[in-house]
């Protein structure tokens, strides 16, 4: 699966995976913030590492990144990415009494970071459990790792397993957010390891073009 273009049926299957995961995540985020949350149509892309950073706003951009390592039948990484503004809005919603400045030098509010991690945990957990049910595959995921930093620095962590084998990544990218004022918004990036695609496709009964 290194650098080979995906067939259209493979692309559609991965889009469907993004759909199912984000659909479930939308429901749990909606329950958490007590607002109607919608999802955009997922996009599936084969990208170079530099292009991957651009999908999230550019290598230099500061974001709140929650990283989960996936283990089991389909190893990989999943990111839940929020801009600083989106993360502040989310925190204002779930911790209305706490003022938080995520870019504060030194130690930001530990309580707030822990709340963000927990939201990420719940939302990403529902994303992944939907995938695992849909494909009848065993997927476990790590605890959430959170960093407020540059896109390039955060995303490289998830690329390490991939970059040993190829110079491209296949990403399944889905945006979710509230439809009223777009304050609550986040981006899921699913980044399977190269070998995971065989398992994913074969679990869905799709031929892979490589033996």
């Amino acid at each position: 699966m290194s650098g080979k273009p995906l067939s259209s049926i493979q692309k559609d299957a991965l889009k469907e995976i993004g759909n199912i995961g984000a659909g479930n995540a939308t429901t749990s985020l909606s329950a958490l913030v007590d607002k109607k949350i919608q999802m955009e149509v997922p996009s599936v892309k084969v990208v170079s590492f530099d292009e991957m950073m651009d999908v999230i706003g550019g290598s230099d951009q500061t974001v709140v990144g929650l990283y989960f390592r996936i283990t089991g039948d389909t190893p990989g990484a999943v990111y839940f990415i929020l801009t600083i503004k989106e993360a502040q809005a989310l925190l204002a919603k779930i911790l209305p009494d706490t003022h938080v400045d995520l870019l504060h030098e030194g130690t930001p509010n530990e309580y707030a970071l822990s709340a963000l991690k927990e939201v990420g945990n719940i939302v990403t957990g529902s994303y992944l459990s939907a995938l695992s049910d849909f494909m009848s595959l065993n997927m476990s995921y790590s605890i959430p790792y959170l960093s407020v930093d540059m896109v390039g620095a955060i995303i490289t962590v998830g690329l390490l397993e991939i970059c040993e084998k190829t110079d491209n990544a296949i990403i399944i990218n889905t945006n979710i957010g509230d439809e009223e004022d777009h304050h609550i918004h986040g981006q899921f990036i699913l980044l399977p390891d190269p070998e995971a695609f065989y398992t994913i496709f074969s679990s869905l009964g799709i031929q892979t073009n490589e033996a």
Partner: protein, 164 residues
Amino acid sequence: MKHENVVRVGISDVNIVKAPQCIRTSGLGSCVGVVIYDQQNKIAGLAHIMLPDSTLSKQKELNPFKFADTAIPYVVNKLCEHGARKFALKAKVAGGAQMFQFETNSSMMRIGPRNVEAVLDQLHKYRIPLIAKSIGGSSGRTIEFDPSTGKLFIRTVTKGESII
């Protein structure tokens, strides 16, 4: 940052510039940015290194710019081809952070320090003195080098800016 005439270097990429141009790479986490320069001739090369060792790669066709042991020799040769003097080369290094504090002790998780180690090994091999460094920690760095002054500008999100 200040300069408009800036050459950008992507991930697993290298480039060289001559003054008045500057050279920049963004979002270094566990990756290491290596600047090698000849101060008097005002020429500099920058490599954005992702992994320490090409011999451990599982890839058939290697991207030489991705690894410390292949990118640094490439930069040194390119610099010398473009008028740098090998004996005058110096280096500044930034990056090699650990972005997340993982509980597992897998070697992939120590990639930042391993990258730094591999870079320093290569510099030592070419007898290129290391003039300044900003390595480790848990913050991303964006760096920009100006070959006319030999200064390396470093920006972080929460730990401020510095010049080394």
